[in-house]
Symmetry: D2
C-alpha cells in the first residue's frame, strides 16, 4: 500500500520513423533537454527516410545454483541438461508453468562442485521474470527425482544475470536482442545535426570505442543509451532497475556512399521489456503504452507487442546517440576555435 | 514542456537505523513487495542495534578526450597535468566555474596520440555533472594556451565514465564511495529473516561472489542493489540513468562471534546523488528529500546533505540484500524438502 | 632459421595421482621453488587418494569479421548460419579442410552491419588453430556464393578470441574446458600443507573470489594458475602466448565432511593444448610429452591425447593452488604472531 | 635441481629502429613465421624513420589483504595509509627492504571489513616482486603496532594483481607503462606491408576495437601482442607467466597527413620486466640481454636498463601488430576477389 506517488514529467519525442511506421515516443525524465535532444535525432532519422530494426533474439533467463558432493556429479547434471534427448522432457515440465513460457535453451557453468543452470525461454508479451522463475521451480522439482543428491542453494545464482552488469548478458543476450540502423544523408548531418560525417565517425571511434575500452567498459560502448532507456522504461511501466543490462549498447558510426553519408547503428543484446503485468497496468504508464500502440498482450502473435516495444527503445536510443554525439562533435569544432577565445554553449549540454 | 506526468507509487521502508539516526526511506516502485522486503531488512537491522556507514570518497568526474599529432605530445600534457607543481594553477582555473567546485585530482589515460583526462572534484550538495563539465571547459581553454596543438575531440571521452558499466568507476569511484555494515544477531536471523547464518554466508559466497564471477560481472557482486537504488533515486529526484554505476556493489556476509552472528556489509564505490538541482526541485521528490531531512544545500557543511543521502542509499541496500538473500536461503531449505513434494511460495518472490 | 636456442631448466613435479593414474609432470621454469611448491601440492593430493577430472568441452574457435551494407543483411547471414537446416551443408564444407576437423557450432555477434562469426570445431590431437582457420576459409568461399555482398574484413575479428583476456572464452570456452577436484584430508592439510581447512577456505574467499572481484578480474579467480600453465606449456612445446586464456581459472575451496576435510577444485574453460604439430616436435619438448605418455596423435581415439594433456595441466594447477594458498595461509598464522616480533620466511615465497 | 632443459629456438628480428637507436630483438619461439612477420614490421618502421616511445610509469605492486572486526576500522586504516602526513614514515619502513625499493603510492580498496592495500614502488632494474613483497612485510609489521586488531589474511590479496587479467592493472598500470608510436609512409604501407592505409585503419577499428568490445575483452584491444611479448620474455629470462598482464595493449591506427600516411601506436600499461635476477642470470638469456645492451643493473641510473627493455618490448609489439594486421588486411583484399575464385595463401598465416 503506497503512501503516495511521485510524478515524473513526460515529454514526447518523435515522430520516430521506424520500419516504415511512425511512433510518438513518451519519455519520463526530469531533464527536459533530453527529450529535445532525442527529438532532434528523430528528425534527422525522419528526413533521411527512417530507421530499420531487427529482433535477433527473444528470451528471458533465470539461473539457479545447485551443489553436489563432487564436480563429477555436477558435470553429470550438466551433460544431462545439455543432452538434446532430454530437451523435450525438460520443456514439458518447464512450460507447464504458463501457457506462454516456452523453453528455448539451457546453458550450464561449473565452478567446482557447484552448477549454474541458465534457462532461456520465451515469455509472450510479459517481461517474464516470474514466468521463468516458476518454470525453473518445476524443473528443479523434476531434477530432484533424477538427481536426489542435488542441493538447490538458490533459485538465482547470479548467472542469470539480473540487474547487474555481466558479460553473460552482453554475449548471450537477455530479453530482446535488437539491432537498429539508419543512413543519415550528408546534408541532414550538416543542417539538422550541425556537424559533419567525418567528425562523427572520428568521435565515435575515440569516445564510444576507444574511450570505453580505456575505461574497462562492459557493454558500454555508447554515449548515453541509458538516458533514453530509463526514460522510456519509466514512462511505460518497465522495471527501471533493469536498465542496467537493457542499456548495454554498442553504437557504430561509419561513413558510406564514398564517405558522403553516415551509417549509424545501435546493437542492444538485452532489452528487458513487457507490455503486460507489473507497472504496465498503472493508468499513466498504460496510456503511454497505448500511445505507442503496444498495450497488452497480442492474441494472434504472442510476444509481438513486447518485441515491438523493444525495437522502439532501440530506435529512440539511435536517435539519442545521433543527437548527443552531434552536440559533442559540434562542440569540438567550436573548441578548435577556442584559441581565438570564442565561447561555446553547446558542449556543456552534453550529459554523457 | 512536458505533455503530462507518470505517477510512480511511493512506499516507505523503515525506520532504517543508521549511524544512530532513524530514517523513513521513500521508495518509488511499482513492485510493492520490494518495499515490504526492504522493510523486513530494516527491521532485522533495527533490532540488532542498527547499521553504520563510512563515506570513503566524494567526487564527481568528467573526462574529455583530446588528440595530438604524436603520443609524445599527449604524454607531455599527461605529465604536465599530473605534475603537483601545476595543480594549484589548474585548480584556480577549474574552481572558478562554481563556488562549490573544488578540483581534487586529475588522472590521465593514453591511447596512442589521444589523451583521456579524468578530472575529479567535489561539488557541494549537487550531483555535480554540470559543475564539473563547466570546470573542465575552463581548463580546456587554459590548456589551449600551453598546448595550442591540442585538439579537443569531445568534452566527454567515456573515461568519466557516465551511465555505463566501467571498471574505472568500480576501481576509482565516482560520486560518493560508501561502505555500510551491520551485525545481525543469531536470533534475529532466525526469527526475523527465517533462515540461519551458515546458509546466508554460503549463499553469499556461491551467488554474489562465485556466481557473479562465472557471469563475468563488473561491480555486480550483489543480489539486487539496483532495485533499491533505482527506487530511492526515482523517489528523491535523482537521475535514474545513473543507477548503472550507482548500483555497483559488493555484498559481503561473514560469520562472527564464533559463527553465531552475521556480519553483513555493502561496499558501493559510485553512488551519484545530489540534494539540489535537477529532479530534486519537483514537488513530490522534494517532499521525499524532506522526509529524509536532506533537502537542499547545507550552508555550514557543503556536501554533507548529499553525502548523508548516499549513506541512506547504502543503508537501504544493506537492508534489501539481507532480506532477499534470506528469502533465497529460506527457499533453499524448502527446496531440500522438495523431494517430499512440499510446495514453495517464498522463492518465486526472488526478484534477482 | 634460428640463430640459436635458449635453455629453460626443467623440473619434475609429482607423481600427480589423477584419475587413478600417476604422472610425472615436467615444468620448464627458471623459478625452482615453483616446482618444489607444485610438488608439495601433488603430495597432498596423492596421500589423500588422488584428484579426478572431467573434460567438459573440446573445441577450438576462429571468428572472422565480415561487413555488409546494412545490419539487416548481417542479420540475414546470422540467421542463415544459425539455422539447423544449414548446419550439415556448412559442416561438409568446413570439415573438408582436414580429416580431423569437425564443426561443432557457430555463434554470431552483430555490431551494426558487421558480423563476427565464431566457428567451434574439434581438431583431433592438434591445438587446432591452423585447422580451424582453413575450415573457416572454405566456409567463407562457400558463403560468398550465397551472400555475394559479404565483404570479408579479416579472417580473425578478435571474437575468437585468441591470446587476449576476453569474456567470450571465459563463458563459452576455447580449447579444452576442464574441471579438476580433490578432497584433502584434515591431517594432510595439517601435516603436508602446514595449515588448516578453515584458514584455506577463508583465504580463498577473501583472495581468489573477493580480491579478484575488487580488482576487476576476468577469469582470474585463482592464486597463480598461469605459473603452472606456462611452465608445462613451455616444457611440452605448447604456444606460451596462449597461456593468457589457458590460465583462466576459478579455484574453489570448501569445507566438507562436517568441516573436517577440504574440497578443492579448479575450473578452467579454455586450456589450449595439442600433442602434435608446432613445438611438440622439438626434441626436448617431445621427450616431455613422452614422459607424460601423451606424445603424438591417438589413432583409436583422435583427440584423447590432447584432452589427457589438458587434464594433467588442470591437475597440476590444482596442486599448485593448494600449495601456494597453504603457504599464504600459513603466513597468515605467522603474521598473527608478528606483534611478538617473530620473523616469517614462508610468506615472501608467495609468487602471486 | 632441474632434471634437464628444454631448448627454445631463438630468432632475431630487426634492426628495430627505436628512439634513434637500433636493436636486434631476440625472440624465443617455435613459430618461425612469427620472427619473419615481426621482422617485416621492423623493416616498415625502419624505412619510415623509426619508432619512438615514452615510459609513462615504472612501479611494481603488491597488495596484501587484511581484515578487521568492522568496516569502520578497515576505513580508518585506509585513511591512515592514504594520509600524506604518514607517507614519509611508511616509506622509511618500506624502503628499508632494499636499497632500490622506493615506495611511490598506496591505493586501498575496501570490501566490508576487509582491506586490500596496493603498494606501488620502483624497484631499480629488477622486475621487483620479491623486493616489493619484502617492503610490504616490513610495513605490515609496522602497522601491527598502530592497528593491533589488524589480521593479515594474506600477503597477496589478488588486488596486486599478479598473473591474472584484471582491470586494476589495465587502469593503474603495473611494472612499466609504455606507449610506442610510428608514422608509416604511404609507399611503405604499399611496398613493404602490401596493403593500404585505409584498409589498415578500418581493420583496426573493426577487429582490435569493435571485435574485442564484442568479445568482452579486458585490455585485449590488439591483434597478437602476447606473441611478441612471450617470445622476448622467454629469450631474455623474464617470467613468462607475467605475459598475461604484460600483453595488455591497445593498438591504434589512424590516417594522418590528409589520409596518406599511417600513424600506428601501441599503449601497454603493465610490462613487467627486469634485467637482473631470476632467469636473466642464465647463460643464453643473459646473452640475449647483452645483445640488446641491457644486461645487469645500471649504476648511474637504476631502473634505466629495465625501462629500456620495456620500450624494446613495446617497439617489437608495434612491429608485430603492423605486420599481422597488414597480412589480415591483404587477405581481405584477396577475399574480396574470392568471388572470382582466386585462392588466398596469406590469410591462413594469421596467428591471431
Amino acid at each position: 500500500m503506497p503512501v503516495g506517488y511521485v510524478q515524473i514529467p513526460v515529454g514526447i519525442a518523435g515522430p520516430l520513423l521506424l520500419d516504415d511506421r511512425e511512433f510518438s515516443v513518451p519519455m519520463a525524465t526530469t531533464e527536459g533537454c533530453l527529450v529535445a535532444s532525442t527529438n532532434r535525432g528523430c528528425k534527422a532519422i525522419y528526413v533521411s527516410g527512417g530507421a530499420s530494426s531487427v529482433v535477433l533474439r527473444d528470451a528471458m533467463t533465470r539461473a539457479p545454483v545447485v551443489r553436489f558432493g563432487t564436480a563429477k556429479r555436477a558435470a553429470e547434471l550438466k551433460f544431462f541438461l545439455e543432452d538434446p534427448l532430454n530437451f523435450e522432457a525438460l520443456s514439458l515440465v518447464f512450460n507447464s508453468s504458463s501457457r506462454f513460457a516456452r523453453l528455448q535453451s539451457i546453458k550450464c557453468a561449473i565452478a567446482g562442485k557447484n552448477l549454474y543452470i541458465r534457462f532461456s525461454c520465451s515469455t509472450g508479451d510479459a517481461m517474464g521474470m516470474n514466468m521463468v522463475s516458476k518454470g525453473v521451480q518445476n524443473v528443479m522439482g523434476f531434477l530432484h527425482k533424477e538427481f536426489p543428491d542435488m542441493d538447490v542453494i538458490g533459485i538465482s545464482g547470479n548467472y542469470c544475470s539480473d540487474k547487474k552488469p555481466a558479460a553473460v548478458n552482453w554475449i548471450e543476450g537477455r530479453g530482446k536482442s535488437v539491432v537498429c540502423e539508419a543512413i543519415i544523408k550528408e546534408e541532414v548531418v550538416k543542417k539538422v545535426l550541425k556537424t559533419d560525417v567525418e567528425s562523427l565517425v572520428e568521435l565515435n571511434m575515440l569516445k564510444n570505442l576507444t574511450g570505453s575500452a580505456m575505461a574497462g567498459a562492459l557493454g558500454g560502448f555508447n554515449a548515453h543509451a541509458s538516458n533514453i532507456v530509463s526514460a522510456i522504461f519509466i514512462a511505460t511501466g518497465q522495471d527501471p532497475a533493469q536498465n542496467i543490462e537493457s542499456s548495454h549498447c554498442i553504437t557504430m558510426m561509419e561513413a558510406v556512399n564514398d564517405g558522403k553519408d553516415l551509417h549509424v547503428s545501435v546493437t542492444m543484446p538485452s532489452i528487458e521489456v513487457g507490455t503486460v503485468g507489473g507497472g504496465t497496468q498503472l493508468a499513466s504508464q498504460s496510456a503511454c503504452l497505448n500511445l505507442l500502440g503496444v498495450k497488452g498482450a497480442s492474441k494472434e502473435a504472442p510476444g509481438s507487442k513486447s518485441r515491438q516495444l523493444a525495437t522502439i527503445v532501440a530506435g529512440a536510443v539511435l536517435a539519442g546517440e545521433l543527437s548527443l554525439m552531434s552536440a559533442l562533435a559540434a562542440g569540438q569544432l567550436v573548441k578548435s576555435h577556442m584559441k581565438y577565445n570564442r565561447s561555446n554553449k553547446d558542449v556543456s549540454k552534453a550529459s554523457s
